[in-house]
Symmetry: C2
Subunit: 179 residues, 2 copies
Amino acid sequence: MPVIPALIINSSMEQENKTKPICYKPIGIFYTAYTPETGAPRQGILKPEVKGEIEIYPEYRDALKSLDLFEYIILIYHLDRSVRWNSIERPPASNPDNSFGLFATRSPNRPNPVGIATIRLEKIENGILHVSGVDAYDGTPVLDLKPYLPGIDGIKSSKNELLEKELGIQFPAPYIRRD
Amino acid sequence: MPVIPALIINSSMEQENKTKPICYKPIGIFYTAYTPETGAPRQGILKPEVKGEIEIYPEYRDALKSLDLFEYIILIYHLDRSVRWNSIERPPASNPDNSFGLFATRSPNRPNPVGIATIRLEKIENGILHVSGVDAYDGTPVLDLKPYLPGIDGIKSSKNELLEKELGIQFPAPYIRRD
């Protein structure tokens, strides 16, 4: 059998990695008052009073231990109502002359429609997380939950703060809880 | 043909949603100096000087427009070296008596091994993002990029700050850039 040069092996492995799908299975489901008909806020934190429930499926409930110590958690979900993506987007509330590449926006229509949101955890009861500040549509599949860690997730950047205004995401003071 | 009650339809739709896999295709690949042999910092921001490159595949490069205006971006990646998950974890640097449910930790071994990291974007050249503060292994498949928006992603929570110390994640002052 001929020896295959390492370069060829690597390149075919790389090709395989590039095209091999990455498949996940929902750990739960997000119940909210939003549907494509009602619409949803662009970011849940703009409506911190809006509540929702996340049902975690029984086989994952032991892994919730101590999560309720955290005031804020990061929710990772599949934007299952996402439609075809475009490379260039005009964010809804920004200057109409502004255009951004899709990856410079938080549009739900993405090649891989993974949503992330930092939401407030009110309590956990019988595998149901009661949360507030939600923006997902009712029935959204949940992929992961992580504790929100301000030291690594909450970096201060005045440059990014200016840009989020450009993207049309405005934060009236009462919407941001600073304690 | 008998009429199927709505309840049965809904319940079977829910069952289908629960078990239907959600599949993604990498948009790029992360090149770093870390391998399972060298190890990697638990969080990239603990080593902000460590650089890496993210190659975005050609078909997604138009969507990078204006991303380089942002100083920090959120990277979403597939933790492909993840191993079997356990419901209960003892975070590595925390008090050995502490145990947390998996979802209350940032362990890479999760039912759906999706990683997120807020990283510093130095520049973009020919579809390659030059970044710093990285923690992923070399060759990690990249699923999504989003701008980091401090107003929605960077919530202040003194409760979560205390807990991140419990999880053993310490932030020496020079590691956190506050501008």
